[in-house]
């Protein structure tokens, strides 16, 4: 085991700046590990260390980053885990990747994911499933399963992914690492292959909360190529808090009660973590989010509806796969999409098209948008009384490969605790809070829009108290 791999990304960045660690050596150490990956975490690994000079004095100089496949990267395969984008090498680079590269972080690899970020197990990838490093018979979560597994197993010092309805937080929880879903608009979506545009957000996967803050710091900012992106108010600070004195944490019983289907082991861990938070000075009280139990239903109308429109662009004309249509244009479209899309993507396109179709629009899509308003209002009221809302991140620990593949609804229920925050566009973080039956459990803290600094501080204090050690899967 290479001792370089034991450094957190923040430590590695400091050592490189101080001249104690050689950037090329660090890159090569990770590149070798990524190339020897047995978890199927990657769809592409850099063939060689970047030889041309990394920007001098850049803050992340020489700390390699793994990137979810759906981030367009100039000249590098970017397929969003789909067969329909076979062979696609984008002629441009996503803003977030360009920003990280400007900050000195070289691209290490592209990570496996559920096709077009649709899934909670990473089993819907054209590249095959990713294995969970804690137990290779189990899923890593999804949709950013490759990013989560790669960071947990020490195949990358850190990674980025995207969260539409839990796709950063849930795999982070299932792999025992930190995952931050930023406020909607904090990071540019330019160059992210779109799933549901009003929900998609890029965010970091890291070993600890400090790394999450450092990576996030270099991802944020308004981008003129994404008019829904915003200037982040203030700087992202590295977290320092060691206690939670004066913080009011709300436990939303509408989510954590019977409706959430939370496993006993996860519940036990959640309650123990709450006790730790109390010991650090936080006050804990039950709170209401009366419409949150309906969030999953609203999400599974809104996200597929947006996806059905976004995925209309994959038609065999401009990029990727084309299947012959016997000289007929419509048949060419339909066959290309039949062959190119996997089962879950087809299911969501069908669901979304149905929800938007004439005669059903108001009943489904229109109603879901109203529910979204009520959910955002619920959070606003809750944040009048509480600093953060806390829940388990996922109702269950990593499940066995194949266990939920034939039951879409059971798969969707994995997102029950993560989706409400996505619909409200607020910030939320998952940190590892311990093990249940030897598998990681995640603890979720959610705060108002642009509360990331406070959220990272609280997560940092809690992380210290929990003392989770994930080093044994970095073999």
């Amino acid at each position: 085991m290479n001792e370089l791999i034991d450094l957190t990304a923040t430590q590695a960045a400091e050592r490189i700046r101080a001249g104690d660690v050689d950037a090329a050596e660090l890159f090569e150490a990770y590149r070798e590990r990524a190339a020897a990956d047995e978890l199927n975490a990657f769809t592409w690994v850099a063939p060689e260390s970047p030889t041309n000079g990394l920007p001098a004095n850049a803050p992340l100089r020489g700390v390699p980053v793994a990137v979810k496949d759906l981030f367009c990267t100039e000249g590098v395969p970017s397929q969003a885990g789909s067969k329909i984008l076979e062979g696609y090498r984008p002629p441009y680079t996503a803003t977030v990747i360009a920003k990280l590269s400007d900050a000195g972080a070289p691209l290490l690899a592209k990570t496996n994911q559920d096709e077009f970020a649709m899934g909670s197990s990473n089993e819907n990838s054209a590249f095959g499933p990713v294995l969970n490093p804690w137990d290779r018979t189990r899923v890593p979560g999804g949709s950013s399963g490759g990013s989560a597994a790669a960071v947990a197993a020490g195949l990358a010092p850190w990674a980025i992914g995207t969260d539409t309805g839990g796709s950063i937080r849930q795999p982070a929880a299932l792999c025992g690492i930190v995952g931050l879903k930023p406020t909607y608009g904090a990071c540019s979506r330019y160059g992210m292959i779109a799933f549901a545009s009003s929900l998609d957000q890029a965010g970091p996967f890291t070993r600890d909360v400090t790394d999450a803050a450092l990576l996030f710091r270099h991802m944020v900012g308004r981008d003129r190529r994404d008019s829904t992106s915003l200037d982040y108010p203030g700087e992202i600070e590295l977290p320092r808090a060691e206690d939670l004195k004066g913080l009011r944490l709300g436990v939303p019983e509408d989510l954590t009660g019977a409706a959430g289907g939370i496993e006993p082991g996860v519940r036990e861990n959640f309650e123990a973590t709450i006790k730790l938070a109390e010991g650090l000075g936080a006050s804990i009280e039950p709170c209401r989010l009366p419409h949150a139990p309906q969030a999953l239903s609203a999400y599974y109308l809104i996200a597929p509806a947006e996806a059905s429109a976004n995925l209309a662009r994959f038609d065999g004309v401009r990029y990727g796969l084309r299947v012959d249509g016997d000289k007929d244009l419509i048949r060419m479209y339909s066959r290309t999409r039949e062959v190119g899309f996997g089962a879950e993507v087809k299911r969501r396109i069908m669901l979304g098209t149905y929800a938007l179709s004439s005669g059903y629009y108001d009943a489904y899509y229109g109603t879901a948008q109203k529910v979204r308003t009520k959910i955002a209002e619920d959070f606003r009221s809750a944040f009048d009384r509480f600093d953060f809302i806390v829940t388990p991140t996922s109702p269950c620990v990593a499940f066995e490969l194949g266990a939920k593949l034939d039951d879409p609804l059971a798969m969707y229920l994995n997102d029950f605790l993560a989706v409400p925050m996505s619909l409200a566009g607020i910030a939320a973080i998952s940190i590892p809070s311990g093990l249940s039956d030897g598998l990681p459990v995640g603890f979720q803290l959610a705060g108002p829009a642009f509360s990331e600094n406070r959220l990272l501080d609280a997560a940092h204090a809690l992380e210290r108290a929990i003392g989770f050690d994930g080093s044994r899967v970095r073999v």
């Binding site: 002629p91 441009y92 796969l321 339909s334 669901l351 829009a449």
Partner: protein, 95 residues
């Protein structure tokens, strides 16, 4: 709740060719998901405005100035059937 004809209608709208087995499976799976989703129609949402976007941004404008776009050959290099400096497609005449 969703029958075969409805599935075929939606598949046509979505430009998705489905085989027989997929049509049956889709009808069953989507019906089950829609049954669960149905619950939101029982909420009292009278007078509630819809949310299509969570963050308050209105009319993000910029000056309308031409900028260089990607070179044509670079873009066409990704196309499955480039034709005469454009994207080649079968005739849209039929159907």
């Amino acid at each position: 709740m969703l029958d075969r004809d409805q599935v075929l209608h939606v598949a046509r709208l979505a430009r998705l060719e489905l085989n027989d087995e997929e049509v049956d499976r889709m009808a069953a799976e989507l019906s089950k998901v829609l049954d669960h989703i149905e619950a939101i129609r029982e909420l009292d949402l009278e007078g509630v405005p819809p949310t299509s976007h969570v963050i308050d941004v209105v009319n993000v404008l910029r000056a309308d100035e031409p900028e260089p776009s990607l070179p044509r050959d670079i873009v066409l290099a990704q196309a499955p059937e480039p034709l005469n400096d454009g994207f080649g497609v079968p005739s849209p005449g039929a159907v």
